[in-house]
Symmetry: C2
Subunit: 340 residues, 2 copies
């Protein structure tokens, strides 16, 4: 019996390891993610050995709602672990995808999500080479959760990461803040659809590769996802015991996002992004790096937003547009849970 | 404020990317999975380049209940993807671990699970090098789901897999059937604890390495997890369009497992295992491979249970202890859902 892509639902048997699971994989995932390694249908993928150091990143995705302006859990799940990998200065090569499905989830939605994953993977030039499917009873999950793991190789031998950050480093942001978080938030709150509120979910590895070729000595790159820029910078300040100073007027925010933030009483610094990065750069190379970023489609609105110093160790502060200085503390959690 | 490991619960903030999540990671996962790559606290792991072909396997774990005789979701999550990787003839090197936690889940249980994962990883000689933590609202998950991805390298250049299986291949099973499934089933049904019903969850890479060194020409190895031996063999028969014939009297089953199967009306062929493997071997090498398996602690009860032929393509059948021949069909799903 063939699957009903219009009215069909996920059943417990689709996760049972038997005929129904094989049917779902054959009819949905193999054609959607079409490649020879996956189609070999083994429980693992055998891949060429990389020449450079290996890099691995993993992320579970539990976003609610599953579909939002600018993307869905499928594209987000590809971009999420792919960006985490690329930020080390690595080229993404392969993805694995593990699905936890709730019994009763519409097959039509699952198909749409798989197609979106396939498109995002293809755009990024990576293959989904192996995966897993589990089903839990109705009420024991929330539609679909997707865990992706990205495997790739370093572009060069440079060490990058939080431990490379030095006093004097300047902080570049690749574009506007808060687009993803406010697109999802507005949808949740049932606001009338505003076409200016769109998630920024995208794969950043092209921009990152251009940045590294231009300035191999970038000290660290991070993406401000859950908890936003405030969470990432506080984590870094805390780990390095250095101080971070931001310039409010330099931080790009879309007017529609700022408007939505004002409405909900949120600060864009605390809102999640899914297609932006922060780079810590030695000051003498900032101008060239910023020019490189701005000449890339994913960095047109890049800006120098702050710097690192030995003063106020462990703290993040911001010079406001009014000229005052305020502490940017980090929150315990995220004002917008399940944003990714 | 430090975490309360006795009465504390998972809160939404523990997945929020902020201070609470950092605290949970610092206090629980970093010390439990203690290694330098993880402790660098980046969003990805940078690892030495492997010399041989790269192998990757991923599995989500949604077992219920989380703790069972012989293991828990933590050890199972390590063994699951590690075995999938090793079965290609690969040596496991690294694991990633992504947690989806339900709000309100006891921190004490999470700590116990992390300790179990750490022990299982250490026993297998692999490091948990990167991970992710998400939290969803109460009622949107079921305690904890763990997705692991294992990365390793091929032990040699031999191709193994379903496409290598040939008519005449003999089928070896590494030990008794049904131990994992019946241990979990008995617990679910509230049967009085029978010390003979214990999950077989274990890492098989030691046995696999010994087998490959002895007989590099093993054609294919698979582990009979969800859906048991019946599901794996039917999937293989269907893919290869070859026939598979089993000998019932050759199949090892623990008496306690057989008793529990009789009680629940189940057939051990359909019950999940988490520490057993099936090997497809050219007939002239079977005796040596079987002797090798039996001399390894994880293969003491290994047995030759059947063979592959060109007859009855796509079908699995079994000569019963009474001398008859019966079809071993595969089920749509698994008689025991959420077994792994």
């Amino acid at each position: 019996m063939s699957l009903d892509w219009t009215h069909g639902k996920v059943e417990m048997a689709h996760g049972g390891g038997g005929r129904a699971m094989t049917q779902l994989i054959d009819a949905l995932f193999l054609p959607a993610f079409d490649n020879a390694v996956l189609s070999a249908r083994n429980d693992q993928a055998v891949l060429p050995a990389p020449c450079q150091k290996l890099v691995v990143a993993t992320d579970s995705h539990v976003i609610s709602p599953l579909f939002f302006p600018g993307g869905d859990i499928g594209s987000l799940a590809v971009h999420g672990s792919l960006n985490d990998l690329a930020l080390a200065g690595a080229r993404p090569r392969y993805l694995t995808a593990a699905f936890i499905l709730e019994e009763g989830f519409p097959l039509a939605d699952l198909k749409r999500i798989a197609a979106s994953m396939a498109r995002a993977a293809q755009e990024a030039g990576v293959s989904i080479v192996t995966g897993d499917t589990k089903v839990v009873e109705r009420g024991k999950a929330d539609g679909v959760f997707i865990t992706t793991t990205c495997v790739g190789e370093m572009l060069d031998d440079q060490s990058r990461g939080v431990t490379q950050i030095r006093p004097g480093d300047q902080i570049l942001l690749s574009g506007t803040l808060g687009d993803h978080g406010m697109a999802v938030m507005s949808l949740r709150e049932g606001l009338q659809f505003d076409s200016d509120l769109m998630s920024d979910t995208q794969s950043l590895h092209g921009l990152i590769e251009a940045m590294i070729v231009a300035v191999p000595d970038i000290h660290c790159m991070r993406d401000p996802t859950r908890g936003g820029v405030a969470a990432v910078l506080n984590e870094i300040a805390s780990q390095t015991q250095l101080g971070i100073r931001l310039e409010e007027k330099a931080i790009p925010v879309n007017p529609a996002v700022q408007g939505a933030c004002d409405l909900f009483g949120l600060d864009p610094l605390f809102v999640a992004n899914e297609g932006k990065l922060l780079a810590f750069c030695p000051p003498e190379q900032t101008a060239y790096l910023l020019a490189t970023m701005r000449s890339h489609p994913q960095g047109e609105q890049a800006a120098l937003i702050g710097e690192v110093s030995a003063d106020y160790p462990g703290q993040v502060s911001m010079r406001t547009t009014l000229g005052g200085l305020r502490r940017v503390d980090w929150l315990s959690g995220d004002p917008l849970p399940r944003i990714c």
